[in-house]
Amino acid sequence: MTKVVEVKGITRNYGARRGVDTISFSLVEGEIVGLLGPNGSGKTTLIKLIMGLLQPDSGEITIRGLAPMQAHALISYLPENTYLGDWMTMEEAFRVFEDFYADFDQVKALSMLDDFDLEVRQPLKTMSKGMQEKAHLALVMSRNVPLYVLDEPMGGIDPAARQTILESILQNYNPGSTLLLSTHLISDVEMLFDRVIFLDQGYVRLDRQVEELRAETGKSIDNIFRELYAPGMRRKA
């Protein structure tokens, strides 16, 4: 299997506060990987390092052999926060994606907006937080890339709409592509994963295939998560 992402001993701290500590793993082609952990466990830090938005203290990350800053054409990234200028409409955002990404599929994006009941001409600043997140997801999932990195794609979305989001991720991601999805809402998405990486205070607690975990423990990933992070079970810092 071809490696798409290689993370080798990456460490990044914020002054005295730990971000991530000597993390290593690789993601192969076609994998859907859940990056799980409570808030502050290092999920977003790790994702920013993969995107080249943070620089590591030590260690190395490559995406198909390239440094993160050189690999942006290969990755479609949904950050934790919305990132389009608030003066933009979706039409304008389409133009940006069309301009910069040769792999952007506008037809796909339009049909996703339709699924989400969003208007192309509506300015972003008049949209609710949930609507903005959906709009961003439509853009990100409409690219045809080897790697999708989604940071909390369901953070601000109400439970009723989460299923729609999941379906559209499944429907639109390019089969054969790798998908890295961080979340703390595990029960909603655990059906999606091939593999889960549990982060805890900057360390990797567990990195396993989900079906193996289910077969071995007879428990859901959500339950395993709860037990792992129950008070008293946590690794001492």
């Binding site: 076609g30 499944l170 059906m191 079906e211």
Partner: protein
């Protein structure tokens, strides 16, 4: 389609169960085409690789076979279906007997109840 998977059991086993039941019940017969992996994944809201794994497992059991160009077909022979049906019914009966024993119902009582409860339609 809505189907509640149990999150405690490997999903691919549950998908296999769904399609094996279809075959044993005769709703999918030899020569029928299996739905594409992606379609199944979307319908059940699960990872395509999981569906792929379930189908490969069914290929291994010779319930289905994947033709390189035209897709995946049900190829289960009557003998295979028969033996799987027996295997499955035997398992169900064993479970049933255990349940009855747990309720302290005797063998004769159970047989009578089955005779009484069995209605031909």
């Amino acid at each position: 389609m809505s189907y509640e998977f149990s999150h405690e059991v490997p999903i691919y086993l549950q998908i296999m169960d769904i399609y094996r039941s279809e075959i044993l019940a005769g709703r999918l017969i030899r020569g029928d085409q299996m739905p594409p992996v992606r379609e199944v994944a979307l319908a059940y809201g699960v990872n395509p690789n999981t569906v792929q794994k379930a189908f490969l497992e069914m290929d291994r059991l010779e319930l289905t076979r994947s033709e390189r160009t035209s897709g995946r077909f049900v190829v289960a022979t009557d003998e295979l279906i028969e033996s799987l049906r027996l295997e499955q019914s035997d398992k169900k009966v064993q479970d049933f007997i255990l349940d009855m024993k747990a309720l302290r119902i005797s063998r004769q009582e159970t047989l009578d109840m089955v005779k009484k409860g069995w209605k031909d339609d």
